[in-house]
Symmetry: C2
Subunit: 290 residues, 2 copies
């Protein structure tokens, strides 16, 4: 009944003897509760978030639907273990392209341990988190039935420079994605995926408006997950491009202050996506009307 | 001809044997070039900024007018020394209330020395920079001819908690400012100083729109200076409340990326000011029409 998800691009992945998330065939995603504080903190966040009636519905849809916790057999064979149960975002798509973007120039929260802070700070400085306010944690780009997915190793992605990030965000919406960062992605799907009234940019701007105002939560080390399906996009079918926030093990109370760390990174990401749309070649309208 | 400014609330202040800025009686402010890189970097910024024609005029007015450098007698008696010459922001006001707000949750830039980074990080964590994305570096609030100014010590201001910042921003626009953080400031000038089409909030929002787009400069350890004059405000006379960015010794090239660190802090400051305006008592309109 449970299996290892096909479309996970970041985070702990289940494999031989290693614990990781599972999915079922009814569209639910089971994330094992980490044994340290992180598991209980993520449950605490989902519980608070679910019952908080100050979250508007148009914002709630940026979060995975939460179905509580459930004891199921862990993927590493260690027996029954509590899992968070939530919506499987990839399940409604056949060949999803996905990108996991960890938000914030700072992934550590003020009250963390000194050791944890120093480890995070090191990683933030070694990646684009510090210069860009976000880093790409992983992605997969669907090419075709023949070529399958381009899904680079985590280490390779974490080594991205600012320019690599720029290219990866263009390749993500290109028809000529291959298995490396060739510098001439055609951005054939940019207008459909990033642009338009329901596209990624419009969704990020809605999220931004909320972050300018909300002082309930600070989302440290949380990711924006972008999902879309090329074939469905070409045909104008299916659910279209979707943005979800994921990974809430380091969410803390906002205490009346906005999450300027997340918001700064979000504005930076918005600028990158806007520039791709502004710099589309003249024939892009033609391509997206294909 | 040169004298020590009356209305400096942060930064190195000239006093017996200590070098600091000077003013003349024609409205110019002379800042001694620091002997390390900071002096030359601030000159480099003003030179680049002055000649950059991508800066719109409605943004240029948030920066002090720059008149180049000039060798004048240093305030510590050490002889001729190069000084930055710029507009003296306080000179057009008789009894200015001023607040210096250092922007960004991170005051260090990525390429700084390890020692510098660790010193800044420590200060950012000890002050409200980390939780709020900005910290108050100093202020003076004019009371009356009898009471004069409330101008607390730098150490006291740098010890502010989030709640102290909230109260200080209210006291800054109150008629009952005294010499400590009494919790009931009346916010009598809030609508005139923070609100309105030309008030502080409207100016900060214009600055925000620019920071969401500009990728020319990253302003580390730079301050927003708020200035207004109570009596002129009451009479509806004078130049009104003014915002200026100051202190550009740690400005670096944006390299095509927005300054998410400054922008995040700016959004947080905007939220604080907005909340003051939203929570004004019903009689505030009456007070500001006084």
């Amino acid at each position: 009944m449970f299996k290892i998800p096909d479309h996970q691009v970041a985070g702990h992945q289940a494999s031989n003897g290693i614990i990781g998330p599972l999915i079922d065939n009814s569209g639910r995603f089971y994330k094992p509760l980490q044994s340290d504080d992180r598991g209980s903190q993520e449950v605490a966040f989902y519980t608070k978030f679910s019952s908080n009636n100050e979250i508007p519905n148009h914002i709630r849809k940026f979060f995975p639907t939460y179905y509580g916790t459930k004891d199921i057999e862990a993927s590493d064979g260690s027996g029954l273990r509590p899992h968070l149960v939530m919506e499987d975002i990839a399940s409604i798509r056949t060949n999803p392209s996905l990108m996991d973007i960890k938000m914030g120039s700072r992934t550590w929260f003020p009250t963390a341990s000194e050791d944890y802070i120093m480890r995070c700070l090191k990683k933030d400085r070694e990646t684009t988190s510090l210069p860009l306010g976000f880093r790409i944690s992983g992605f997969q780009i669907y090419g075709s039935e023949d070529s399958g997915y381009w899904k680079p190793e985590r280490k390779y992605v974490l080594g991205f420079s600012t320019n690599d990030v720029r290219i990866a965000l263009r390749k993500f919406v290109s028809s000529n994605s291959s298995d490396d960062l060739v510098p001439e992605p055609d951005c054939a799907f940019a207008e459909t995926v990033y642009g338009g009234a329901d596209g990624v940019l419009a969704q990020l701007l809605k999220l931004k408006a909320w972050f300018e105002d909300q002082t309930i939560f600070h989302f440290y080390s949380c990711s924006v997950l972008m999902v879309f399906e090329k074939e469905a996009t070409l045909k104008g079918e299916g659910p279209g491009a979707t943005i979800k926030l994921i990974d809430f093990a380091h969410v803390i109370e906002g205490e009346g202050v906005i999450d300027h760390n997340f918001l700064g990174g979000l504005c930076s990401l918005i600028k990158f996506i806007s520039e791709i749309l502004e710099n589309l070649p003249q024939n892009s309208a033609q391509v997206s009307a294909y």
